[in-house]
Subunit: 185 residues, 2 copies
DNA sequence: TCCGGAATGTAGCGGTTGCTACATTCCTGG
DNA sequence: CCAGGAATGTAGCAACCGCTACATTCCGGA
């Protein structure tokens, strides 16, 4: 039966929604299954193990975020780093994007702890972000472009962190201040 | 007996060392006790519960970091934001400070997940960082100074995140690029 | 209609979690 | 020297963890 594949897809989408809503807090097999509206037995029928289920769900989340980013800031046009930083900061603090950033923080922390499968996911998503930024940056020198992309990504992630530790208003003020940043040379 | 208080202090210091070395990965009561060289029974004799033990240990870590920061960049002199950003980035990527930043990332993520006692710890430490930065910033307008401090803290935290997701070299390149940043007005 | 595999339920295994009841030893003040 | 609290050990509880063996139900093709 292809029923299994179809159900698996449905479950994956529900898991992605659950992760965006609840983060990595409630991610035991039983809790994930409950969130998807199935039994834990079936979750491990659709997926080999917990890591595979989380990996698929995170992949779905990443694809979702990718679509949003593409819509908000289409490729093609290359921007000066100042403008890209300001626009990226605006996007990252957008209420609709906030759940993605919050989840992203947890994934990175789990990766830092060495938890599978998050270490791989973190490297993959980070590389995607960096490439996304680089292709929108009008800096010719590749090395400088890479370093600038890294700094911009750091600023964006840092703003998300600041929001957790100091509240949304403070993060918003800092994001606005990012508009005053200029890059020499 | 004052023995209990003395032992509690020793245990607190050992727990702090363990957290710096291993992060929040191995923080079950039994694992914490083993790291401190005592039985789990005694850990919960010195501390009311796991949260209190972690709270005390994190407090000790924060104090340690505070001392290092004070030594590296004494208060008194106020610096332009560009210089402070560059110096703070240098300190944050210092190998001796790296364990603190790694642990800090995990605490923030745990706070985002709402885990006690990390939510409170995160707010407290973030406020401390922001105040530390503000008192070293030679910007007169209080609002602008606060916003700038937030942005600098975001950049530093973001660099630590980048190190996790993209490796130390990439983070170092981005940190160096931070030296090219200028603030208008 | 019945056979066989897909789909699903039931029950449980061995392990870890935070925490505690109870017993015992240690040490000090009177 | 002994009473009594401080300090410590032993054992275990109930809940949860990821995962699986086994039984059962469902359903389409021959």
């Amino acid at each position: 039966m292809a029923l299994r594949a179809a159900q698996r897809q449905v479950v994956t989408e529900r898991l992605a929604g659950h992760l965006l809503a609840s983060g990595l807090a409630r991610t035991s097999v039983r809790q994930l299954a409950a969130a998807a509206g199935i039994s834990d037995r079936m979750l491990l029928y659709y997926f080999r193990d917990k890591a595979e289920a989380l990996g698929e769900a995170m992949g779905h989340v990443a694809a979702q975020l990718g679509g949003r980013l593409e819509a908000a800031l289409p490729a093609g046009a290359r921007r000066p780093p100042e403008r890209l930083l300001a626009e990226a900061a605006r996007i990252a603090t957008d209420p609709e994007v906030r759940p993605f950033m919050a989840l992203w923080m947890e994934v990175i922390a789990a990766a830092a702890r060495g938890e599978a499968p998050f270490a791989g996911i973190a490297r993959q998503v980070t590389a995607g972000f960096l490439s996304w930024i680089e292709t929108r940056l009008d800096i010719e020198d590749a090395e400088r472009r890479a370093a600038t992309a890294g700094l911009i990504l750091a600023a964006i992630d840092g703003l998300a962190l600041l929001e957790i530790g100091a509240g949304a208003e403070r993060a918003a003020a800092a994001a606005e201040r990012a508009g005053d940043v200029r890059f020499t040379s």
